[in-house]
Subunit: 240 residues, 2 copies
Amino acid sequence: MADIQLDSHLLNFIVEQEYQPGDRLPTIAELGDHEHLNISVSKVREQLEVARALGLVDVKSQAGTRLKEYSFAPAVHLSLFYALATDLRYFEQFSALRTHVEVAFWHEACRLLTDADKDELRGYIEAAWGKLNAPRIRIPNDEHRAFHLTIFRHLDNVFVKGLLEAYWDAYAAVELNVYAELTYHREVWEYHQRILDAICTGDFDAAQEAYIQHTRLLHYPTRIQAGAEAHLAEKLPDTV
Amino acid sequence: MADIQLDSHLLNFIVEQEYQPGDRLPTIAELGDHEHLNISVSKVREQLEVARALGLVDVKSQAGTRLKEYSFAPAVHLSLFYALATDLRYFEQFSALRTHVEVAFWHEACRLLTDADKDELRGYIEAAWGKLNAPRIRIPNDEHRAFHLTIFRHLDNVFVKGLLEAYWDAYAAVELNVYAELTYHREVWEYHQRILDAICTGDFDAAQEAYIQHTRLLHYPTRIQAGAEAHLAEKLPDTV
DNA sequence: TTAGACATATTCATCTGATGAATATGATTT
DNA sequence: AAATCATATTCATCAGATGAATATGTCTAA
């Protein structure tokens, strides 16, 4: 336990007691009259709510409060979503960050991919094509998210992975707010195929280059406009 | 206002009401029996505490609650500090992210620097040398932080700037936990001089290269060890 | 014996109300 | 006009009550 001080009495307590992920914390009532932790139940609840919002703890009735594995994503998610709620144009900035980060850690991530991972990536591409070719159009968002996150799966950097996870949450959230063309998605998956092919031949530079090119398809932010939702509905009929 | 939904009733309320930075929110009591916001005072306080922790609002007695300008830094800071409190080795991961991000946005940031900024950078270098040469050793942490943040001052990306701000908060916090050699700091400022010189001649590539080299001096994480604090005290006598 | 239904106790969820502390504001004094 | 002071507002913190959810153990029936 390092000597880093946190604002929150409760968080300091959690760190000091060296609780591990999965461990059950004392009940709220117990924390409320814990001698070291000089705060009342209402204060405990306030700080527990912060910890919950940050994804540090799971708090359920009867099951009590359990410490979760550390992840950067919830904090980023929360702050980012607040920003997006006030102004969607923040997405462009976060998107720029995401692209640069993926590029920066690209080789390190690719090197760590196993054959099983590559098969999984292939699976996402196939599933995506299946969806795009189906009579009832479904945009393969899940596969898109999974494809990219899988590439960075083994990267040993919780912060990079947290940023990327939050990015995909935001991506899904803004999806309905933007002008999206169906053709866009087909092109994306052609690039994904190129990325995977290059990864499989070990040419990570080529994969990176294909990745960079494919991000150029992302020009959502400039397309945000009033009534985008209605427009999207029009572009996405139930059947084609 | 975009159609992004947040978990927090209060945050949604703030967004819906289109409060602007600086605006004063209703008092906690008023929020407690606001008809649209169906939560009691205790719930308001819990969610206000989350908003406060994320740096979204300033809440003071009598002055009430005011909305702040959006910043990514507090959320990053909070989550990062929690991570560091559980394990200092997380600093290495965040440091890697920081370095890659600074490199990625280097040119864009340098292009936006004004002559006044460059003078300011020069001032930090001079102040740092002054401190390092003073009989009473003071490590120029403030100048170090200011030097780097000034370079990215005009970058139009709240997320990049937030990450960097949080990095420097963490840097200061881990400083006492690590084995730091005094000579290290002199070398750093020689590199800073090179960076500034290159920026002034408009050779941003050279500046970036000098930046990358200077980050190699940062090998804090591998040096983290038990009793580092005592060791540091020994290395930092009041007078030399 | 086992699976499923059920009762119970624990724990969180939420609200109310009370008291104290901090401070912005306006009133008062010099 | 400036400085001091009193007051009312607002947050800070706590205690306690009630309700809802659910893990757990118990009981019943196949």
